[in-house]
């Protein structure tokens, strides 16, 4: 065999491998392939002649070292000659040190007692697959680094989880309570006219058109707008953002886009949850204390509330999400020097995004009225 890195001469009792060319980091893939072609017969002694090496670095030396290690596992003798010793000694040294250290480290898992042994093993097995799964996920995210689109998708899913899934309980509870409050207030007024049943109309229309999306957006601005500003701000202060640039990564691509995308996906979904919870709150009061039957309530909601009311609420969600995410990430990226500035920018992110949500909502209201929706 003969290629850019190795040429192999086979003699009856020895295999001479001439190592040559560029044994460097950039060639590691090709080197590993080349080394896999070193296949001595049993009883042959392998000699690596390294005089023809043009260049070698740690990665290249490691491939060579690994090859001799594997041969020694197969109980085949090998030696290196004409090698600039420094790297090899260096590697040997590192690996010896590692071996010593691992030997010295006390075994972290104590021997399980016989009685509980089975349970411990079962638990351990379950845990280790768990950890392996987690590792595989992390690995796949890391793999995605090379193809930016993939890592962006991974990060975006994470953000949907943090900003959306984790916000469901609080949004549901808040809108449920607001549904109750609205129903109570409306009932107080409408009972005077004997039009108690209109409470249902009022609750379902106000929640779907306005309150659901608005409450969800304000909650998200408080939770995630501040989280965006704070986490990006800390990354700026830690020089993490600089480190990314130096490594050749674009921080905007890696940090800002996934947050914006994630929130644009999460907020509409949260809005649907909010609408359902708000109407459920209204239903609790209507059925529980206003004497409206469950069937009547459902009929009334279907009669009074168009799908268009629901859509009017829903189309606002991505716009609000965009506002929150852009203001939050922008403020975070503006953090430059101190922890004080971090606090200031985080506050600004929340206040400004809630302000902008309400301004946008007012614009939407005017627009929809003009359009007659």
């Amino acid at each position: 065999m003969n290629n850019a890195f190795l040429s192999i001469e086979s003699h009856p009792d020895s295999l001479i491998v001439n190592v040559k060319g560029q044994w460097i980091f950039d060639e590691v893939l090709a080197l590993e392939e080349a080394v896999a072609g070193v296949l001595p017969e049993p009883g042959q002694k392998v000699t690596f002649k390294c005089a023809g090496l043009d260049n070698i670095d740690i990665a290249g030396a490691w491939v060579l070292y690994d090859c001799t290690e594997q041969l020694s596992v197969l109980e085949i003798e090998s030696e290196l000659v004409g090698f600039k010793a420094a790297h090899f000694k260096f590697l040997q040294h590192i690996i010896d040190v590692a071996a010593i250290r691992e030997y010295e480290e006390p075994d972290s898992e104590p021997e399980p007692r016989h009685l509980i042994r089975e349970k411990v093993e079962l638990f351990g097995g379950a845990m280790s697959t768990h950890i392996e799964d987690l590792g595989a996920i992390a690995r796949s995210i890391l793999d995605g680094v090379r193809r930016p689109s993939l890592i962006i998708i991974g990060e975006t899913i994470k953000q949907v989880y943090y900003t959306g899934v984790q916000a469901i309980p609080v949004v549901v509870v808040i809108t449920f309570l607001i549904g109750i409050v609205t129903a109570h207030q409306a009932a107080g007024q409408l009972e005077k006219f004997g039009a108690t049943v209109l409470v249902v109309d009022l609750v379902s229309i106000s929640i779907t058109r306005e309150m659901g999306v608005l409450l969800a957006a304000v909650m998200v601005a408080g939770r995630s707008g501040s989280a965006f500003a704070a986490s990006l701000g800390v990354m700026k202060l830690n020089e993490e953002v600089d480190a990314m640039r130096v490594l050749g990564l674009n921080p905007n691509q890696m940090l800002v886009i996934p947050r914006i995308l994630g929130l644009v996906i999460a907020l509409p979904v949260l809005t649907i949850f909010a609408d359902i919870a708000g109407i459920a709150g209204g239903a609790l009061i209507a059925v529980g204390s206003l004497g409206i039957s469950g069937l009547q309530f459902v009929e009334r909601v279907a009669f009074s509330t168009d799908l268009s009311d629901f859509y009017v609420g829903l189309v606002k969600a991505p716009v609000f999400a965009l506002l929150i995410a852009m203001i939050g990430t922008l403020r975070g990226m503006q953090v430059r020097f101190s922890a004080e500035e971090l606090g200031l920018k985080t506050t600004m992110a929340v206040v400004q995004s809630i302000f902008m949500i309400i301004v946008a909502d007012a614009l939407f209201a005017t627009l929809f009225t003009r359009m007659g929706i």
Partner: protein, 249 residues
């Protein structure tokens, strides 16, 4: 004629009316360890940030390995490694992932090879593999520095930038760090630019010293710098700590 790998020409940096660099010129030669010293606020970190394209200079040009550096544009990131003053490990990734990241970004290696090379780098900087799955927040300051050095070395860089690598390390750790740098530099084709306040590092490790005074650079071997009659340089190397280090060599 020695090859220069970094060329800084007429660099001017100022913030408001405070001029930090005033027509600074600097040549870094191939395969040397250059120590950069200067008082606090003299602009060492700003110089480093300018060279890395993280800071927009008022004027002047910077060339690294023949490539002109532009603000916030991808530089020769394949060829340099940086140890930031505070480590700057990515907090969302584990130690192992932090070291693998540059390899993943700049090569097509299969996962196992990448993993083993990253482990090798961790061992090389004197860490045990038991830290590999920890997050940066779980490490001590000195360990963070080491991980950060492992990350900087991950791609076998041609140039290594170190911003105060031994600050905050105990003297034994600092000496080991210096020895590691010397060892690496001696065995690899490596140029090191090291900002430091550690006089021991300067005398024992660096081939040349660049002193930042009056917005410019005075550069030379240790002996040449000690001969200088600039008042700041005289007082810097005249303080007892520095004299002790001088006696030690």
């Amino acid at each position: 004629m020695m090859e220069t790998v970094i060329e800084v020409r007429d660099l001017v940096n100022s913030f408001g009316d405070q001029v930090v660099h005033d027509g600074l010129c600097l040549d870094v030669r191939r395969d040397e360890i250059l120590g950069v010293v200067g008082g606090s606020g003299s602009g060492k970190s700003v110089l480093l940030r300018s060279i890395l394209g993280l800071q927009k200079p008022k004027s002047g040009t910077i060339t690294v390995l023949g490539q002109k550096i532009e603000y916030h544009q991808p530089g020769p990131s394949r060829c340099w490694g940086v140890l930031f003053q505070a480590g700057a490990l990515l907090s969302g990734l584990t130690v192992q992932q932090n070291v693998e990241l540059p390899i993943a970004l700049h090569s097509d290696m299969p996962v196992e090879t990448r993993h083993e090379l990253a482990s090798l780098k961790l061992l090389m900087v004197g860490l045990s593999l038991s830290v590999a799955d920890k997050y940066p927040s779980e490490l001590s300051g000195g360990m963070k520095k080491r991980v950060s050095l492992a990350r900087a070395l991950a791609l076998e860089p041609k140039i290594l930038f170190l911003d105060e690598p031994t600050a905050g390390l105990d003297p034994i750790g600092a000496t080991a760090f210096d020895e590691l740098i010397t060892y690496l530099q001696g065995n690899l084709d490596l140029t090191v630019v090291m900002i430091t306040h550690d006089v021991d590092s300067l005398f024992n490790t660096c081939h040349r010293i660049a002193v930042l005074v009056d917005g410019k650079v005075k550069i030379g071997t240790v002996e040449e710098i000690l001969q200088s009659d600039h008042p700041w340089i005289k007082s810097y190397f005249g303080v007892p700590r520095a004299q002790r280090a001088r006696l030690a060599i």
